[in-house]
């Protein structure tokens, strides 16, 4: 049985897999990292977005064996010492989540946007989210959260939400 070794959230990890095992199955079923979700089977919903070697990817559309030696970051790897990452904090502050299912993918995708575009416009955020579906929020507060999270990561204070 193939064996894959990689770094997940800064720590070494390894598991026996099948060649057909997807990265998301490795994360959820072998490594117990169930924060990464599966919401579709056509690579569209983005609930499974993680970072592989610094880029956001859909972990349902990459084989575990392709990630040999890779550096993977999941939603579980963002908060440190119980303190939320500024992007996570922005989602909380701006009610950017309801059922929470799409949320990990949204946050991971947002971080990749901010990496390339630290000060995105509302339009740019909406277009970036093409690969992330949410059925609860109507995206309004997700967009607001990402703009606030980006601002916080630039060192500007997060604006208050819904008062």
């Amino acid at each position: 049985m193939p064996h894959v070794s990689l770094t997940v959230n800064g720590k070494p990890a390894s598991a026996d897999v099948e060649n057909r095992t997807l990265l998301v199955q490795l994360l959820r079923e072998k490594l117990g990292l169930t924060g990464t979700h599966v919401g579709c089977d056509t690579s569209q919903c983005g609930a499974c977005v993680v970072h592989v070697n610094g880029r956001s990817v859909k972990s349902c559309t990459i084989l575990a064996v392709q990630c040999e030696g890779a550096n993977v970051t999941t939603i579980e790897g963002l908060a440190t010492d119980g303190k939320l990452h500024p992007m996570q904090e922005a989602f909380r502050e701006n009610h950017g989540l309801q059922c929470g299912f799409c949320t990990p993918g949204m946050v991971m995708s947002a971080l990749d946007l901010v990496k390339h575009n630290p000060d995105p416009s509302e339009r740019e955020v909406r277009e970036w989210l093409e690969g992330n579906l949410c059925r609860c929020t109507g995206y309004h507060n997700i967009v607001k959260s990402i703009l606030a999270g980006a601002a916080a990561m630039r060192g500007q204070p997060t604006k208050a939400a819904a008062e």
């Binding site: 060649n19 880029r55 990817v57 559309t61 990459i62 084989l63 064996v65 093409e130 690969g131 992330n132």
Partner: protein, 263 residues
């Protein structure tokens, strides 16, 4: 998905040798292959992952042409200063493929080898009159696309790069499928060393050129020049999102928008 053998060669020769095995499938970014496997629509004996062949990645401008390595991702093309400087319409096209995560993995070589009738890159390659470089030969764009998911590639032949002549003007206008965001119609128009070329994706069984538009634009480079030129609806596909009449109409609209965008 069905299980398969997995190979990750580090050089082209090994990849080519492995690819000759019956029922083996080459994988570049995997953005089409993996979803296909997940739906059990293909049952390859082996998947040959080209991802470790680093020679196949890169963008360079030399000899008056832009060369993009086959394994260069859409995101890298979209963000490339060289592409932006030489063929901004190509960078824009790359930036509109799929979604950011698809662009982070999907590659130009994979897209061209697959030749989905609604994919974007075939329009650029045909519209710009590019040359497809394989491990065995060079293939002109006009000879490469052979219809629905069919190309001139032989068994085991691997795309290594695409050479784009640098045009004077070029742009792509796409009308996406509202659900899948693939092209319902995409029109790439270029004016360059090979004259004016108009390539349409999404309409039929594969990308094609519209000669009448090319001739009209060669005489008069303006959106008005193609006002009266239509592609017959009978040559266009029909589905729940777009009838053949609507597709035929959109070819005209998108062509004009491409001309306007090209300036």
């Amino acid at each position: 998905m069905y299980d398969f053998a997995y190979h990750r060669p580090t050089n082209l020769a090994d990849a080519a040798r492995l690819a000759k095995e019956a029922e083996a499938k080459l994988m570049a970014g995997g953005m089409t292959l993996i979803p296909t496997l997940k739906q059990r629509l293909a049952k390859p004996s082996a998947v040959i992952d080209l991802g470790a062949i680093s020679d196949l990645v890169g963008i360079r401008v030399e000899g008056g042409r832009l060369t993009i390595g086959a394994l260069t991702t859409h995101a890298d093309v979209a963000r490339s200063a060289e592409v932006r400087r030489t063929i901004p319409g190509l960078a824009d096209l790359a930036n509109g493929i799929g979604d950011p995560q698809v662009r982070n993995r999907g590659t130009i070589g994979g897209s061209l080898a697959n030749n989905d009738p609604a994919a974007d890159y075939p329009a650029a390659v045909l519209g710009l009159g590019a040359t497809i470089q394989t491990n065995e030969r060079s293939i002109a764009a006009d000879d490469y696309f052979k219809g629905l998911f069919e190309t001139a590639l032989k068994e085991g032949e691997i795309i290594t790069a695409v050479h784009f002549p640098i045009p004077e003007k070029a742009a792509y206008a796409k009308f996406p499928n509202p659900a899948s965001r693939y092209a319902i119609i995409g029109v790439f128009i270029a004016k360059g060393p090979q004259g004016v070329r108009v390539a349409v994706t999404g309409a039929g069984n594969g990308v094609f050129r519209v000669k009448a538009m090319e001739d009209a634009l060669a005489k008069n480079w303006s959106a008005d020049a193609i006002n009266d030129i239509t592609v017959p609806a009978s040559e266009c596909n029909s589905d729940i999102h777009a009838s053949s009449e609507y597709r035929a109409h959109l070819i005209g609209v998108m062509a004009k928008r491409a001309i306007q965008a090209a300036g």
